[in-house]
Amino acid sequence: MGRQVAIASAGFSEHASKRSDVSMPELVSEAIEDCLKNAPSVELGDIDAFVNGNMPAFEGSNIPELWMTDWMGARNKPLLRVTTGGTTGGTVAISGYYTVAAGLPGVDTVLAVAFEQQSQGDTSVGLASVAYGEISILNTLGIPYDQISRLLSAGAAIGVAAYQATTYMNKTKIKEEDLARVVVQNRRNAAKTWWAHLKMPNLTIEEVLDTPYVQYPLRYGMVCPASDGACAMLFTTEEKAKNMCDIPVYVNGVASVANESAVLGYDGSGSAQVDPSMQLGAIRSSELAYKQAGISFPRKEIDYAEVYAPFPNQQLLWTEKLGLFEEGTAPAMHEAGVTDFNGELPVNCSGGVNATNAIGASAMERPAEAALQIMGKASNQVPKTVHTAIGSGWGGSLNLITLMAMSDQPKRQWR
């Protein structure tokens, strides 16, 4: 059962804080055109099925994949919609993988597309509405509305991630300069990526620290922007991929293990995660994905990583939880330059989510960029040869994660 799946191409649209020149379907078709441009032998008629996803609360359109059927070229073709909030892009990519791996008759080539046009709506309202149900329950159980609004503002755009930042910084004793250094590295990398949003080639640590706090310990200069953009990936079988591109990228391991919700539980029942920076879901996902991919020592076997880090503390956290570094050593590794562009294990050379965050698309852009690095076609291509790479996503109430492990060799084994 099951078969090898390869990524033949990936494409992006231009990301900006306001893509006021396109409507939502036009943004999606821009990404699809870029994806097909990178695989010139593929025509729209060669695509057997589609997968689509975004976070629908931001644009005021429910199930918009119905509207954009023709802009995707999906008329009278199979189409599935997968959405999971912040991890949407990752789950759409994973769904594209599963559509090919399942081996349904006649379904060999799948186009997965994830997008977001946040400028169409109100980002903070869209994000705050995660907890409307739980907050109204807390209200009924006696907590007055002004305390609840403090709870909501303790989130704002950052949401519950601030709580995770506090415990992580407490464990590793890092300072704000360490966080600012990560931000500077990300934004400078984004300057070399053609589709990124915040291109700041001359950013310095002092400039980042010179902004007010949005949520202790994170400052305005450290948090991700809200972008409009789309991303598309082409999945296909091992045989067909060889005709579509020079270096097909094989998807060897996928996982998206969920955890109990943190900070706000369902029905207002409190946080099941006492320490939100433990992230059992991420640890378990990496175990599952690496086992599928035949990776036993991730630190040495993985050449490149794109981790989902809208906030700089998360870049350090995920590199530990996903098995790349030992617990608590990520800040030291970062300071020593291991994760630099020229380092042993470059991380987020596209600028990461810290420089571009179109929420529906950003979790797909991570495996897409990692795949392009393996193919040698990334816009900020690292000097070392990349054979194995991972792309991760994160979202929900600190409880959802996605992980895709890829390599230039088909390594997926079934017992």
């Binding site: 059962m1 099951g2 589609f50 996803g53 976070m55 629908p56 609360a57 644009e59 005021g60 429910n62 199930i63 119905l66 509207w67 954009m68 059927t69 023709d70 999906a74 009278n76 073709k77 199979p78 189409l79 599935l80 919609r81 997968v82 959405t83 999971t84 909030g85 994973i94 769904s95 599963y98 791996a101 399942a102 081996g103 349904l104 008759p105 006649g106 869209g126 994000l127 995660v130 409307y132 149900g133 739980e134 996982a255 998206s256 293990v257 969920a258 955890n259 109990e260 919700s261 369902y266 099941a272 879901g281 599952l288 599928q292 979202g395 929900g396 109430s397 409880n399 959802l400 079934w414």
Partner: protein, 379 residues
């Protein structure tokens, strides 16, 4: 296609205003499905849910349902279409060889929000939404009129479908109470309130609260879990053009193409004689006739001539179909479950005798823009 078996299921009784908490209903469905198969939480490998952010009143509607749906430390994802599409994703996960037990659940509670108003958000915001001519009910009116005019089908023949389904729902203990009308007549259907001419109220599948869950396993595991697994031998799904003017509304091309894909995989060449029972998700009575024609059960325009009663030549919707209760995001899943019940002989008063092969369908979008079809076979 490798064989994948449905090994357990559970459906919560449908209410128009359920006295349940949202998570309570989800827990009842997922726990019920596990108990029916005699499995434990730790056996679960992956969970696919089907909810809709707008119907749940919050974004990321799956992040708080992880615990109650059985997704803790399981590979979890969410499909935002009909419950039948979630079954497709669960099926793909099992077929890939990565997972040995998939739980698929879906449902919502339309008593919490004005259903037909929220359906407006599906429309194209740049053109259709501001004009407000096209919404879920007027589009049904367009399709019913197109179908009737092209083939000369009368409104009484379509009303007969509603009568049959509501009578069947009266035999289904889990159907919506307001839809269980054992003594309904064609005149009652035609006299019920006009929604959008010629669609009347009793021809519309009533939205109600409900959640359902089912379990999928690969062939080897399915045979160990239960002695009556139901095999999914074929699946097809297809999405039509969006704008109503780009489609031929007197038929349903996406259902036709989905059926071709499913029949091809299942090796079905003569659907009318090979299929014993069809559970179709019909949001309006006329859709059942259109689907029956597209599925090859009758020629175009002759859908009303099929004897689709429970003891007829080809039973269609013996459980009452969506006209017996339409919980958004769960209805297609319930159709699959009802087809499974027919094939395992557990359908009680509405059992079709000797059912061996069944089809089940789901849909999403105005005038059934995206359709999915399963071919199911008994062990």
């Amino acid at each position: 296609m490798q064989k994948v078996g449905i090994v357990g299921y559970y459906q919560v009784k449908l209410y128009s205003d359920a006295n349940y908490g949202h998570y309570e209903m989800i827990f009842e469905a997922s726990r019920g499905a596990l108990d029916k198969a005699g499995l434990k939480k730790k056996d679960i490998s992956t969970v696919i849910s089907c909810t809709n952010d707008y119907y749940d009143g919050r974004t990321i509607s799956n992040c708080f349902t992880v615990e109650v749906g059985g997704g803790y430390m399981a590979d979890e994802s969410k499909v935002e279409m009909d419950g039948a599409h979630a079954v497709l994703y669960g099926l793909m996960r099992v077929l890939s060889g990565n997972h040995n037990l998939a739980v698929v659940w879906g449902g919502s509670m339309p008593s919490c929000y004005p259903y037909h108003t929220v359906r407006l958000y599906e429309t194209d915001p740049t053109w259709e939404r501001s004009l407000a001519y096209v919404n879920d009910i007027t589009s049904a009116g367009f399709q019913m009129r197109a179908y009737m005019e092209k083939y000369g089908v009368t409104v009484e023949e379509i009303a007969k479908v509603a009568v049959k389904n509501k009578k069947n729902a009266a035999k289904n203990p889990l159907a919506l109470k307001e839809a269980q009308l054992a003594n309904l007549t064609v005149k009652d259907v035609l006299d019920s309130g006009k929604y959008a001419d010629p669609v009347t109220e009793l021809m519309v599948a009533p939205p109600c609260d409900g959640v359902a869950a089912l379990l999928l396993a690969p062939e080897k595991q399915a045979l160990k879990i239960t002695d009556k697994p139901v095999w999914i031998t074929g699946v097809g799904y297809n999405q039509d053009a969006y704008y109503l003017g780009d489609r031929d509304l007197s038929g349903c091309k996406s259902m036709n193409l989905a059926a071709k894909m499913a029949y091809n995989a299942a090796g079905i060449t003569d659907p009318y004689s090979e299929i014993d029972v069809a559970e179709l998700f019909e949001s309006y009575a006329h859709e059942e006739l259109i689907f029956a024609e597209e599925l090859g059960f009758a020629d175009k325009g002759k859908g009303a001539e099929i004897n689709s009663a429970i003891n007829g030549d080809l039973a269609i919707n013996p459980s009452g179909g969506a006209l017996g209760g339409n919980p958004p995001c769960a209805t297609g899943l319930i159709r699959v479950i009802e087809a499974v019940k027919q094939l395992t002989g557990e359908a009680g008063q509405y059992q079709v005798k000797g059912a061996k092969k069944a089809v089940a369908s789901g849909q999403i979008g105005m005038c059934a823009q995206n359709n999915i079809l399963y071919v199911l076979e008994a062990n």
